[in-house]
């Protein structure tokens, strides 16, 4: 075979892998469905826990992979298994025979409108985490009031929720909520900011410091209780109902803005592709790794590797690390042929 490597997905996983493969002397082909590279991270404002700019990261990566063959606005429309590789047909008509494939197909954000009780798409003052990031980045959003007096963040929207068909933890939303709460508090120092959580899962390096800062330096209130429903008062403010489980009392609060932390769910647009490749799906709906301890980046098919959130929710550093190790694994695989 020709030693071609096709990376499907141009988010940070795909780009980082391309960069590593370039460094190893390969010229990978990167296929991205949308018009621009960078994936979800490109639409994010700042990253936790260091509050560095997300755009800087994606821009830097993009400049570092100019040596690769990059197709944006392009989808893989068919994929055939050959004896010693794979044949891919792209939506721009190009057919590629590849020895190795890297799935860096990422995730979808949960569609918050599916939880109708939270009022996304029903009430004027309900937005999602990604709407808020877009607003942080300067996009106009009429749902965000000029000077909100009280802001609520709802954790676990569409994650850890069988009713939303996703029982798993999305891993990054707790830290994202804290990050966004801090950013809002910086913009609106006089606003009351509440985070409604079931469990706070702050497992990463310095995340706990982040949490302490939010409590101590920003006065953000953490309320242990899952929001059950959101209504509207006569004067058009939101009224949120939860149980303050620590005091054991039902709680209600009026808000000017509610931010729903939409969870990470599988990328449904790749279902057909993964079927054509003969890849297995795990019980959580994401692609199934060869194993979940030692071989997360390996698939059940020879020559197909995974990087990033296509196998489950991942943080940025995890994604980057997986991308590098997948690049190395592909390199070794091609050497062994």
């Amino acid at each position: 075979m020709n030693g071609n490597i096709v990376i499907i997905g141009g988010g940070i996983a795909g780009m980082e892998a391309a960069k590593a493969l370039l460094a190893l002397g390969h010229t990978p082909i990167l296929v991205e469905a949308s018009r621009t590279l960078g994936g979800h991270v490109a639409s994010w404002h700042k990253l936790f826990p260091d509050m560095s700019s997300a755009k800087n990261l994606t821009a830097r990566l993009q400049s570092e992979i100019s040596g690769a063959n990059i197709f944006t606005d392009t989808r893989v429309i068919s994929l055939n298994r050959l004896v010693d590789g794979y044949s891919l047909k792209l939506s721009n008509g190009i057919v590629i025979n590849a020895s190795a494939l890297l799935f860096a197909t990422g995730f979808n954000l949960f569609d918050a409108a599916k939880k109708e009780e939270y009022g996304y798409g029903v009430y004027d003052r309900v937005i999602t985490n990604s709407d808020l990031e877009a607003w942080f980045s300067g996009k106009e959003d009429r749902r965000v009031p000029k000077v909100p007096e009280s802001i609520g963040f709802v954790h676990c929207v569409g994650s850890r929720d069988l009713k939303a068909c996703n029982g798993q933890c999305s891993k990054v939303c707790c830290a994202t909520a804290i990050k966004q709460a801090i950013e809002m508090k910086e913009r609106f120092p006089y606003a009351k900011v509440y985070c409604f959580y079931m469990d706070l899962r702050l497992f990463g390096k310095k995340y706990e410091d982040f949490y302490v800062n939010a409590q101590r330096d920003y006065g953000i209130q953490f309320i242990r209780g899952r929001v059950s429903e959101v209504g509207e008062t006569f004067d058009g403010r939101l009224q949120l109902k939860a149980e303050d489980t620590l005091s054991g009392k039902p709680l209600k609060v009026c808000l000017d803005l509610l931010v729903l932390m939409s969870g990470i769910v599988r990328n449904r647009s790749i279902e057909e592709l993964s079927d054509m490749a003969g890849l297995e799906t795990d019980s959580d709906g994401f692609l199934r790794s060869a194993d979940n301890e030692y071989a997360v980046i390996e698939s059940n098919r020879p020559g197909i590797y995974y990087a990033g959130a296509c196998t489950g929710p991942k943080t940025v550093p995890e994604t980057v690390a997986e991308a590098r190790s997948a690049a190395l694994a592909i390199h070794s695989y091609l050497e062994s042929l």
């Binding site: 069988l162 009713k163 899952r226 059950s228 939860a242 149980e243 039902p250």
Partner: protein, 105 residues
Amino acid sequence: MTDFGFTLSRSSTLDLQKVDEGRFEQLCRLEKGAAVCIGCGSCSATCPAGSLSGMSVRKILLAVRRGQDIHRMLQCCMLCGKCTMVCPRGINTRHLILSICSIYD
């Protein structure tokens, strides 16, 4: 009894070794979902009876677990099913409540 001028109050500590888990085990046999509650409070928050009477499925289940008396906590349940609808763990809370009603005397 001799009056010493003070009383010895019972310790308010919950001694897990002494908790009577019989009822909870009985409940789990009738409704397996009882074991998977994460105490998120959705059920209590959404409960139409909750704001008036303090009805809380979460608290009732916890009380059963801790072997405490629950008789007065179930006075207002209308079995309306909202708690079943919102439970993120998919617990059949209505069956849970009916099962609790049936195991106590």
